[in-house]
Amino acid sequence: MTALVSENLESYTGVRLAPLAWAGWQLHIPSDWRPLKIYGTPEKGWMMVGDAYCACFSIHWQQSNGSVSDGKQWATDRLKRLGLFPDSSPPSAERFSACAWARDVQSEEEKKTTHWFGYSESADLLLGLKVNGALPEEHRDSMKHDVLSSLQTSPADDETIWTLYGLSLVSPPNFKLVERHLYMGDVALRFQKNRQESLMLRQVYPGGLALGRRNFERWLASYPFSEHRRMRASSVTISSWQHPNFEDLVGLRRRGCKRLGIPLGGIMPRWNHALAVQDQTLDRLLIAEHSASVMPDENICENAIAQMNRPLRESL
């Protein structure tokens, strides 16, 4: 796994930087910028990022699935389609198989847009980044020196990092994102592997406030996505749990079986292993729930919990 861009960095203009990672790519943004809109799937989609005043840039991604034989040609063609010629020394060139950019292109009066395209063979990802031409000069500098130069990808067959709003989650290899639940103070992502196995990762914060409203068991019972199967009370075993390596991760472990309603209860039951812990250092409630047609591997949930917010925890 590529190391996640670290916390507590300062930008070119002296602003604190925060990591942003989604669908296999990672970069740094100034800490007061945020994702404004996320659209599409991990295979193809785009994200718009901005501050409280305007959109600063948009990033488009698409899995190439072997459709690109010459990455350099692809990146140059993308610029040509926009009627642009590539400029020299594109940022992050050393981390991509091929990339090209056209900087400060005057599209309208007082607008200077920058376009960047890159292809990563190891991540099997095509990326396009467009900077809002109407940004103030210092934001445009920050885009070139901080955002574009920090862009990197993680290998396609490796764990994937998902970082936004100051939290980070890591999905195991071959688990694809299928649903997301992004609310202030409550972020959950659901991943699927072979339609038989599903992993839900969730963070609720501040943890003290969350646990003041519901206990661990009730948080485990409140699944943020719609599902047909229900946990059968007779199959549930609950025990207390503490992470073997991190003493501040304390909570509950639940094992059980989710079944369809009567009379379909015998059809394709899903065995379930879930952990809900309070991260006492960051004051967050961390939940991981793994379902499969056979009893799931407990290490998957334990690893997912241990990897949540790891860069942030290590920086404290």
Partner: protein
């Protein structure tokens, strides 16, 4: 053009609001009870209440949890909203944009309940 003017106006209003200094209004009583801070303030009674014979002023009590108390106590008449947001984000380890949304909404609620007053310059149009 109209859109540009509207955006500039919103920007100046936002900057003015973030630079404003909120201050706690005088309280009748303030006490801790069951982990919550209970603050009692004197308010003008509603028109209907007065018509039905109530006094001109009434005491109202509001309960603040740990996080509410943290923001309320930060409104000391010295710190700006921006500084309160930054402090809240650092203490609770949440991102700045989320802290800004949560804190400004909460300060707005406290203003509506007369627990805070805020002095600010009228933003330029």
């Amino acid at each position: 053009m109209r859109q540009k003017v509207k955006t500039a106006s919103l920007t100046s209003r936002r900057i003015a609001a973030l630079d404003a200094v909120p201050r706690r209004s005088p309280v009748v009583r303030s006490e801790m009870e069951g982990g919550k801070l209970r603050v009692t303030v004197k308010m003008n009674a509603g028109r209907w209440q007065r018509m039905l014979g109530a006094n001109a002023t009434v005491n109202r009590t509001f309960g603040l949890d740990k996080y509410g108390q943290q923001v309320y106590e930060a409104c000391d008449g010295k710190r700006t909203v921006k500084e309160i947001v930054k402090g809240f984000a650092e203490e609770t380890h949440v991102s700045l944009p989320e802290a800004e949304t949560a804190v400004t909404k909460f300060i707005h609620t406290l203003l509506c309940k007369a627990l805070l007053v805020i002095e600010m310059e009228r933003p330029s149009k």
